[in-house]
Amino acid sequence: MTATGTREIREVAEHALAWTDAHLAAFALGEDALSADGEVDHSWKPLGELAQVCATVSHHTAPQDPLHTRAAAMLDFAWGQTGEGELFRHMQRLEPFATYPLEVYGAFASAGYRHRAYEEAAAVVARTRSWWLTEQEPTRRLAVLSAEERSGIRRAPVEELLPAGTWLAGRPEPWTFERDAGYAATHVVFHLTDWGRDPAGLPPALADYLHDWLPAWLDTCLEAGMWDLSCELLSVAATVPRLTGDPALGGAWERIRAAQRPTGALPELEHHSGDTEAAGADDDPHYFMNHYHSTLMAAFAAVLTTARPGGPAGEGTEGTGRKGPRHSGQGAPA
């Protein structure tokens, strides 16, 4: 097996972001995004994910780095799509109880893009008991709590940010892992670590559990050609202290590199990709939906991996210095 080093992994991010940049128009918010019953999954969700990945990439790269420049420009584009935050206020008036506007806003707020009037309006609804009791899956609850914290509308006490009730926190039998559990698990880690910025946010018990089982899960996902979930797991691996440098991860990157198309796109699932690619890619609306998230996740995972001290090939860090080596237990909630 060829060792995959920092340079090769970085290339995955470069190609993925180049593809993203070339398809930026598809992230634009259309008219349907502004109605109460619009298809959020085809409008606000991709835009929020673009913003989050670009925020993480620009955070972990030096200002003169081309990756940084590109990510920062795309982040500006995304913010422009929201009318510099004004559309969050619009959506809040239409659907005061929906949590997704705040979740998307949280990604921008964490990167320093703020809209004070929206935050004030969101804070009013967030003070109700009903908002607090909104029924969601535990991992999604964690996402909302985290968005509140990022948006400064409510400083959640640490114990409330604990991932109680989530699949991952239950540390269940590892063989009960399947797709939904996998996505829930990766997102718990993303929320607890502020999307890779703060690896110390991961409680040591969860880090231990992930250290034991993540390589096996990653292996099954790669075997199944589930590139999207594989990249999410690689992102998590980059935030679990003792997993970096694991030789199995180098092999995983080799496979992601092989799966990435010459355009930079990475399909969500290997066996789904054939139809839309053969049908003439860009004309097919399914093409974007089947590729954008996994491609963003490839960039996300690659940047987190190469920013870590002691990446898979034991090479040096390219981080900004704000996240040097930390003791794994430091600051973690008990």
């Binding site: 008991r129 009903s130 926190a169 239950g170 009960t176 559990a181």
Partner: protein, 305 residues
């Protein structure tokens, strides 16, 4: 007090439509497993649950009871292939509760597929089940189903109910569509789908007595028949149902001559399967609300409680 005949006739029409459109309860065996073979199980489970309520309450006419029995037989023997489709679904998604949720009402009516029962018992023992991520109300429902299947619920229902929106009786003016469905289903699970109105804790019953009429009014004005039907079921689960006359008259008037109940405002247009997918649920809910409200109205007439 609403005319009991009007309430009863809504159910008569709904059962006729469900029988005439029974082919809509279909599986898609060829569907890509990534998309989800289990997606089409839900309507079948709901149908079986409502037919179960109809037999239990014993207020339906013989024609309705006959249609319900035939619907159950057809879906079990043909659509579910004697339960083998449930086993197949379980193999595709081993950690999913759906096959067991669909199975329960059939089992309670005497149908049997031991492999699903063994699977449910196995799921109950593993931690991966208790941390299966779902909303608090569905979690309560899963615990209730475990009890009904003879298993020890994990977590216990008394514990599960605490996490629900309704149990904490928040600001009633915050209720919108999604929360309203959480409310109705919380009541369904607490009362075993209307069988035990006493399963509703007193504080929740009080809260509903005060606010349910307001919500019924709201969704009546919006002509959201699917949700209105569920709220009428909730009314019939209360210690003193109102059987609200204005709501029932409008609900009955919204029903089509062939028995279909539109989900929102008017009937949709389109291919038969697509129309079925939009209105089957509201029509099932109409049958459910009708049988439960009729039963409560007759109990009141008889002076029973």
């Amino acid at each position: 007090m609403t005319d009991t005949r009007l309430i009863h006739n809504v159910g008569v029409g709904a059962m006729e439509w469900l029988w005439a459109h029974r082919d809509g309860f279909r599986l898609e065996p060829g569907v890509d497993p990534e998309i989800g073979f289990l997606e089409r199980f839900k309507p079948i489970g709901e149908l079986a649950m409502i037919c179960g309520v109809l037999f239990r309450e014993g207020v339906a006419g013989s024609r309705q009871a006959e249609l319900a029995r035939r619907l159950l037989d057809t879906t079990w023997r043909e659509t579910l292939d004697g339960g083998r489709m449930l086993v197949r679904g379980q193999r595709i998604e081993p950690m999913s509760p759906i096959p067991f949720e669909v199975y329960l009402p059939y089992r309670e009516l005497g149908y049997s597929q031991p492999e699903i029962e063994r699977w449910a018992a196995m799921l109950q023992r593993i931690d991966g089940w208790e941390v299966f991520e779902t909303t608090p109300t569905r979690r309560l429902g899963l615990s209730a189903f475990q009890r009904r299947l003879g298993l020890t619920p994990r977590p216990p229902e008394a514990e599960a109910v605490k996490g629900t929106w309704l149990a904490r009786t928040p600001e009633p003016w915050m209720v919108e569509g999604r929360i309203a469905y959480d409310i109705t289903h919380c009541v369904f699970h607490l009362t075993d789908w209307g069988e035990r109105p006493e399963g509703l804790p007193a504080d929740i019953a009080d809260y509903l007595r005060t606010w349910l009429p307001v919500w019924i009014d709201d969704w009546l004005d919006l002509e959201r028949w699917d949700l209105l039907g569920e709220l009428l079921v909730v009314d019939a689960c209360l210690p003193r149902p109102t059987l609200d006359e204005r709501a029932w008259k409008a609900f009955a008037a919204a029903q089509q001559p062939d028995g279909a109940m539109p989900a929102i405002r008017e009937m949709p247009e389109g291919e038969p399967d697509d129309v079925f997918d939009v209105v089957y649920h509201s029509t099932l809910v109409a049958a459910f609300a009708s049988v439960l409200a009729t039963s409560r109205a007759l109990s009141e007439l008889a002076g029973a409680s």
